[in-house]
């Protein structure tokens, strides 16, 4: 069991009282403090320390984590990436959140009033009959049946709350790119939230309901591949759904992986020079959680007129956008965003992300009042940028 957990590619999420998890954390942690030195929250909030949390949880005898530490964690996985013994700290936090949520009705501390969590609860209701494809608009081809599914997740709902970000644009760009390569994707009305926030905020039951509801329609279409533009959906559908719903004969791709493949096969040609200086933000769910670092960079390099520069902290060491699963946004978040955006602005004029939620969190910061004035910087999604290069 321990070997199985260590060998798995994604950040593991075992159930709360899982002995393997307990062993990995309790006996795995050597108290070296590397996690704390690398934790993006600790750099701003000196009282938060993953090492201390583990020490207290097991030496305190109570096996408990206080609520502040529980929700301050971004579950970005940077601690696990640098840990010499690979202690699955995010999984440990998730398990503790689940334990807490089982005992209380309170929502996770979301600064948007729990919008995404309530949305997930609503989507888990059996009576739901959605009409969620209004954003597609004219001129784009989608199908009811086919080989490729485009999984949109919560994207059609985001514009109702995050007015400073045109999130539906990501979806339109994705369909445009697929159409240009001769793919007519399935976009289903039966689709529901992927369950990412429910899972990471400790609502295992809601996640399982959503996973079963999604698996039902996905398997019924008989599609062979599923594409998503969201790093969160990607990590759920690829690594968590097989665990929750059993046999999963689909190939799950992030849009960047599909684009890389289409460019390599010559099915997609980018012709319009963009003349931009860009840098790339690794979303935690795509990078550290799913180990996909190269596809988005390959796509950026394939775009004409795009000058790509790496930031200093990239790949495993990439800094988080400041919020994980919408359950933490505070002073620490704002300082992290300021720091990350300054870093990006020093390298380029466009910051590209491959996750709509990174885009929302950074755009929110730019939309409000930055702590210190920032050089002009635009946050764009990889899919939107690629669609622009189509001409």
């Amino acid at each position: 069991m321990v070997e199985a957990v260590l060998a798995a590619p994604a950040v593991e999420t075992p159930s709360p009282m899982d002995d393997a998890l307990r062993v990995l954390v309790q006996e795995g942690c050597i108290q070296c403090n590397k996690c704390t030195f690398n934790c993006p929250v600790h750099r701003v909030d000196a009282l938060f320390s993953p090492r201390k949390v583990i020490l207290q949880a097991y030496l305190g005898g109570g096996d408990e984590v206080n609520e502040r530490d529980l929700w301050a964690c971004l579950t970005c996985g940077e601690c696990q990436a640098v840990c010499p013994t690979q202690v699955p700290y995010p999984a440990f936090i998730r398990a503790k959140r689940e334990k807490l949520r089982d005992s209380t009705e309170r929502l996770a501390p979301c600064k948007h009033g729990g919008f995404k969590e309530i949305l997930a609860e609503i989507m888990a209701k059996p009576g739901l009959r959605q009409d969620r494809r209004a954003w597609i608009g004219d001129g784009l081809k989608v199908a009811e049946k086919g080989d490729v599914i485009y999984f949109t997740g919560c994207m059609p709902y985001l514009d109702g709350v995050f007015s400073y970000c045109d999130s539906a644009q990501i979806g339109r760009s994705a369909i445009r790119l697929m159409n240009a390569a001769g793919i007519v994707p399935v976009v289903a009305n039966a689709e529901r939230c992927c369950g990412h926030d429910a899972l990471w905020n400790g609502k295992q039951e809601t996640f399982e309901k959503l996973a079963r509801a999604n698996a039902k329609w996905i398997l019924e279409t008989g599609a062979k591949r599923l594409v998503t533009t969201c790093a969160e959906c990607y990590s759920m559908l690829k690594y968590e759904y097989p665990k929750a719903v059993g046999p999963w004969p689909l190939e799950v791709l992030h849009m960047s992986e599909l684009l890389e493949e289409l460019v390599q096969q010559g099915r997609l040609k980018f012709t319009k020079p963009l003349d931009l200086k860009v840098t790339y933000q690794d979303p935690c769910r795509l990078g550290r959680h799913s180990k996909e670092y190269d596809a988005p960079r390959a796509v950026l390099k394939a775009l004409p007129g795009v000058q790509f520069t790496e930031m200093d902290r990239v790949r495993e060491n990439a800094m988080c956008c400041g919020v994980g699963a919408y359950s933490n946004c505070d002073a620490a978040t704002k300082f992290m965003q300021q720091e990350r955006l300054e870093e990006a602005a020093s390298k380029a004029d466009h910051l590209v992300t491959a996750c709509p939620h990174c885009r929302i969190h950074f755009s929110c910061y730019l939309d409000g009042k930055p702590v210190d004035p920032l050089p002009p910087l635009k946050i764009v999604d990889l899919t939107v940028l690629a669609a622009e290069a189509l001409g």
Binding site: F115, Q130, R132, V161
Partner: protein, 136 residues
């Protein structure tokens, strides 16, 4: 059993709630299934309140604030109207229908307006039938 729509009515302290109070003092009737929740201002209406109400099984959501220009906090009611417009798009996508949400105004003296609105909205929701989210 006949269907009795459950309505969550978010009323601001200064106008909507006072109007409801006035309706009571004047012995005007409106459906008993309208559940009033008092807010200081409709400007604090979060999309989440509306979604949570539907998630908990309400069939309709009524938001009653001040008339434009007479908000106790200058522009809270206008902010709320803006928010509710955007929430309507969410309700449409969820298949609930934006008609299940109504944002309206009643001044503190308009008990009759409150009672009429509550009655008319309840009847409208009754015609639409129970919220699909109530299905077990």
């Amino acid at each position: 059993m006949t269907f009795e729509p459950e309505i969550a009515a978010f009323c601001c302290n200064w106008c909507g709630y006072s109007a409801a109070d006035q309706a009571g003092a004047a012995k005007l009737t409106y459906p008993s299934s309208v559940r009033i929740l008092r807010l200081m201002c409709t400007g604090m209406m979060d999309p989440y309140y509306v979604l949570r109400a539907f998630e908990r099984g309400f069939d309709g959501v009524l938001v009653v604030g001040c008339h434009p220009g007479s908000c106790h906090y200058k522009s809270g009611n206008l902010q709320a109207a803006d928010q509710m417009k955007r929430v309507a798009s969410i309700l449409r996508a969820l298949g609930l229908g934006e008609e299940r949400l109504l944002m309206t105004a009643a001044s503190a003296a308009e008990g009759g307006v409150f009672a009429d609105t509550a009655t008319a909205f309840t009847e409208k929701v009754r015609k639409m039938g129970p919220s699909p989210l109530r299905e077990a």
